[in-house]
Symmetry: C4
Subunit: 212 residues, 4 copies
């Protein structure tokens, strides 16, 4: 424990991140408008498909981000101050999603569509990138993980995410041509992040145990 004197316990980093992600994922529904029309309510509801799609993409993305964050922090014993600060930066981009998603929902069908989907895509990209960089930081800081095997596990986690991030870059670029296709690609990326296989752990890190 001698080297541990500048480390913060990880249970609050997990609790704080879980709460931020839970709020982001739940706030998204507040952006969906209840139609005022009573006659033809069914049609009015269906006409809002853009808002539901924005909700679904965002929910899937935040959900996948949360699983990846779980996947990463189970290898961490305790965190440096920089780890906590870096995690805050990653959460900054995630907590911006309710704004960028409602921007996309509001302007998806009009002249502002290209700008709106671009802003949304760049936000997803920054949130994904910072999480991968957070993983690299963990892999480069021996005192935060149990042993060499755990470091290799974290490196595998980071490697396994590059291609989905590459697809996000493509999606943002595609937005210059067609914002509709870009949204479909965002949904694809979000689903890929959710179904990204977990890293088989070689290390003895604390999965299955309580916080800490």
């Amino acid at each position: 424990m001698a080297r541990n004197y500048m480390l913060l316990p990880k249970h609050r980093l997990e609790a704080f991140s879980d709460a931020v992600l839970a709020i982001v994922i739940t706030l998204l529904v507040l952006e969906i408008r209840v139609p005022a029309e009573s006659a033809g309510l069914g049609h009015a509801l269906l006409a809002e498909w853009r808002a539901y799609l924005a909700y679904l993409v965002s929910f899937a993305f935040v959900g996948g981000w949360w699983i990846a964050h779980n996947n990463l922090t189970r290898f961490v014993r305790s965190g440096t101050g920089a780890f906590f600060r870096f995690n805050l930066l990653a959460l900054l981009f995630v907590s911006f999603i309710p704004f960028t998603a409602s921007l996309m929902g509001a302007h998806g069908g009009d002249e502002g569509s290209r700008v709106a989907t671009m802003v949304f895509g760049v936000d997803l990209l920054l949130a994904s990138l910072t999480l991968s960089l957070l993983g690299r930081y963990v892999a480069n800081n021996k005192e935060m993980v149990e042993d060499e095997a755990a470091r290799a596990d974290v490196r595998a986690f980071v490697r396994g995410r590059w291609w989905a991030i590459g697809l996000l870059v493509v999606a943002v670029a595609v937005d210059a041509v067609s914002s509709q296709t870009a949204v479909v690609l965002y949904l694809a990326c979000a689903i890929l992040f959710i179904f990204e296989p977990l890293i088989p752990r070689r290390s003895n890190a604390s999965a299955g145990c309580g916080p800490g």
Copy 2:
């Protein structure tokens, strides 16, 4: 622990689910409008009984869902990736409740009433079904539970919920005839879920202990 290498610790699944459910149950109150009338405020408040009823049904349903989720996860040691993803799907339907409840609250008394209560009921049904399927998934994955007794406990949990889900199906069907009766049946289902008896555990799973 050898088989455990692809499992995620359950304490974050519980913390995240608790936060999502706490937010959903608390956001519901934001849908109730403060009347602008100052003379006759009492009457104006009573005239909003539909909004209170929507609040009560939703609160009871989410509360009962939370207790059932507790009832289930106490048998789980740690989760596969699929368990985490399936749990997200179940939370998707729960986090949609503030929208469907406010839809029902807004259109309960007008032409849109049938559609609105139908959407609300289908949402409750999907949230209930996915939780039961989550239970089946746990029962079918030996590495997530302690022993055979715990699997039998989880199977009893799943079996004990079918009749309330059946009643929800009836309630949604009844909506085609009378949306008023449907709402009363939704309330009945929500209360039944809350008062559903806990499963007597035969296993030695970690109830009464800390997370994990």
Copy 3:
């Protein structure tokens, strides 16, 4: 542990209650309107003193309720289903506070003032009463606490709250004469709940330890 087979672990009850209370206490600030006037903004801000007072009373009340809930659950080892359900009922009244507080904030100075402060006060009263009854329930259920000393501690907790609840009853009654005085009494009750001394524990319950 033989008797423990129908009990749920308490760490999720605490996590869920903490999240609900944190959301309620934080949502309250959303009810305060940003004045549109730019000239004389200072005066416009001061003119909203009713909203700040409603915020302060509610914050103090929810904060005190949270401390009392902490004070109670530290004696509990694990909960029956009824304990979880009763706790939900108590949270129902607490989570109604953002609505009743903004009702009082909006109508504090007009004809609706009496009704608005009455509704707010009755909400505080029901939230306080259900917490005390939750305490009585704990005291009457041997399997939820460690030993006889813990039961005596919980009984002392319940006894120590009756007089503040009595004062709340008086405040609600006073509202029939003067809603201004009633608000002052609500604030007094909220502060009394916050400063209510903790019960000196005779038992060896798990204060100072982790969840569980």
Copy 4:
């Protein structure tokens, strides 16, 4: 443990504070308006830079406050009632930030600018001061920390924050001359709080372990 009889477990104080801070940091984004203009959406978005700046300053401040709170509570074993009450007071000022930040965002460019940035700055100052006083309280209460070394650590924590608080006082004073400069100084303070180095622990407090 004999002296422990009036202490509350710290895990709920941490969970409650984490939830409040997570909500505050996430609610901030709701204050940013989605522009209604579809032609020239890009320009309309850029024109809202004041709202983004308010978001960034607040996010950085709340994030830094959370890290400092982590830094402090890791030295605490369990809390007195006064510690819990004092922590609530500090959270009161933090949970007021969504209101004061949106006030600053709304009036940053008009006649009300001086008052709005002043109110925001005083809120940050009170939130910072109460956290430092909370640290002093811990340092003065032997029964809350492990040993003398931990008390010295907490005293170092408190000392290390005075200069950033001094800068906040300067920023509030500068607002009388230029509210623009004041906002820049608030951002500087927020960033300083985030990058404030952790205290090297001499004590054996529970960093790296689970709650408790």
